[in-house]
């Protein structure tokens, strides 16, 4: 029983990490048709900015309120980079999808190399509050607090994002744009403003994933974003591109499947099962669990 609880909760912790990365990817793809390979960079920026802030930013630290400040700084940095990327690199290539993908590919290569050049290729120990290293007893299982923190954070972000999408004007524009971008402009709305907004949201969520992922893994390294990104892509495709709710379901399915199969089967088998799940979903429902047809 306690193993089941532990596996479920660690699975949900991983799912939370995927969801934080995937929600932004999904919105960016759904609205702007940009498959954003640079999304892992936003995550890396968030992680390194948090790491840097904990030691260097006045008021920030690795514990208590100081840590909150450090994470806020990391999220802010990730958001800023995302907005800059959209304004400077993506926007001039408006509706030239392949070129936009290519630019994000170049950016992911150059960006990770830049992180590596600045802070070295090796993993660095991540500053984290002492309570995140401890465990909490849940139904007889000792669950790492860092995982619980991720789950809570992802739930809050998911709730906030859905509220934003459903109850604000910009949320309405984004939901409509995911369905039919052209028609949104034909109603007199400058949809490109919404592009910048989804990049900012995605950048913020990814940066938060970077900071909390640092807490969860205990280290930060330049390549961290890249490996997470591939599973986040899988989550986005399974969930249906452009659908945040779909991404949430898919993240949970992928996270749990991975943990359980890796535990009961051999290590690594879970990751392979996830790709198998992707193949099955695509063959049965090419448009994913929800959202628009994934052929754009």
């Amino acid at each position: 029983m306690s193993t089941l609880v532990l596996l479920t909760l660690t699975g949900l912790g991983v799912a939370a990490l995927y969801l934080l990365v995937a929600s932004g990817l999904s919105l960016v793809f759904g609205l702007a048709d940009v498959l954003n390979f640079a999304h892992g960079l936003f995550l890396g920026v968030g992680a390194y900015a948090t790491w840097w802030a904990a030691d260097n930013l006045p008021g920030a630290g690795s514990d208590g309120f100081g840590f909150v400040v450090a994470v806020a700084f990391g999220v802010l940095a990730g958001t800023l980079v995302a907005v800059l990327v959209e304004l400077v690199l993506i926007r001039p290539l408006y509706s030239r999808t392949i070129e936009q993908v290519l630019v994000t590919v170049g950016l992911s290569l150059a960006g990770v190399a830049l992180l590596q050049a600045t802070w070295g290729a090796d993993a660095r120990p991540f500053p984290r509050p002492s309570w995140t290293r401890e465990v909490t007893g849940v139904l007889g299982a000792n669950v790492p607090n860092a995982g619980l923190l991720l789950i809570v954070a992802a739930a809050v972000v998911l709730g906030g994002l859905l509220a934003f999408l459903h109850w604000t004007r910009y949320g309405l524009v984004i939901r409509a744009g995911v369905e039919n971008r052209e028609m949104v402009t034909a109603l007199g709305i400058d949809v490109r403003k919404a592009f910048t907004l989804v990049f900012a949201i995605g950048g913020a969520a990814a940066a938060l994933a970077g900071a909390l992922g640092g807490v969860y893994f205990g280290t930060v390294s330049p390549g961290q974003g890249g490996s997470l990104l591939i599973f986040a892509f899988i989550v986005v495709v399974i969930g249906g591109m452009g659908s945040v709710v779909g991404s949430a379901y898919a993240a949970v399915a992928v996270g749990l499947l991975q943990q359980f199969v890796n535990y009961y089967g051999t290590s690594g088998l879970g990751d392979i099962c996830v790709v198998g799940l992707l193949a099955v979903v695509l063959l049965l429902r090419p448009q994913g669990l929800a959202g628009k047809v994934a052929t754009a």
Binding site: D33, L93, G106, G268, A279, L282, A294
Partner: protein, 373 residues
Amino acid sequence: MTNSVVEAPPAQVPDELTPGRSRWHGLRPFLPLVALVVAAIVPYSTVNLPGFFEGPLNSPGTLQLLAICLVFGGLAAGYDLLFGRTGMLSFGHALYFAAGVYGTDVLVTRAGLPLWQAALLAVTGGTILAALLGAVALRTVGIAFAMVTLAFAQVGAIVVARDFKLGSGEGLTGGEEGLPLDVSGLPAALVGVTNTVNLYWLALAYLTLVVFVVHRVSGSPTGRVLAGLRDDERRIGVLGLDPYRFKLVAFTLAGGLATAGGVVYCLIVGGASPHVTSSELTLSLLVMVVLGGPGTRWGPVLGGILYMYLDHRLTAFGSSDAVENLPAFLSHPLSQPLFVLGTVFILAVYFFPGGLTSLKSRLTPLLTALRRR
């Protein structure tokens, strides 16, 4: 109606058909042959090109670097069969290359097969793998196809990294350490530093093969259908041709060529390391093709050669005195080849959408304008 498809894609015609002004025009058809001959006799040259290479041209180190460049020239040309000529954005090409590298390595080192059997099995296996996975992945198109191929390739990376064990204690792939090639059973001509020249020629032969195959395919009726698919898939469907089949043929062929490249690469570097399975390898193939000029005969080849050359040489450049003396905020990024290449790539997407091969047509008006003065 069929005629509208059989038309060659407009993008690649002008360069070959417009009469050149230079007096070398008559020699143009023979230029590839000349380049091949020059490349073939390079190992006999003891010329030293300080700055470009560390030793004379025929030193083993230089020849190995050149051989790697040639293999990637071929890989990029094969990848262009998908991206530039058919319009398929695959993010999983590394898988088939890795199948060649690891297939050869595992069959020789772990199973003790002779090289020719291992190579044959690896290439056959890689081609079948491409056909099977292509059959699934091609049920999607566009960006979804890119993601599915990426995910399939990721399985390859996971399998290699997890180092699955077969019965006895030793892992199959060597995990993160990689798997050095057991050379004891290999033909003597391919082993040892002094025989690097043979590997160089092998790489050259591979590149020639790929260029030949891609050239033949793109000139054939199938190739014209592929070009039609790239421009407008619906038009091909309207003609009663099944886009799926043609794309699967291209995908399988490109996969097979990549596997063959993997075999050669495994021999050149003497083993396998997990980085050949990474998605970054596919991304760099994409960068090579776009830098060189997608859909052109020589663009991807040049892009591949240049990229690998820079990737290796920029590391040396980064640790040279000239860069070391720069302030840290400049010297650190410049010592990262991927930073330089990524940045160049982004600039190329913006300013040279046709890649290197378009440079000539862009520079010609400028040069003639300058000459007139």
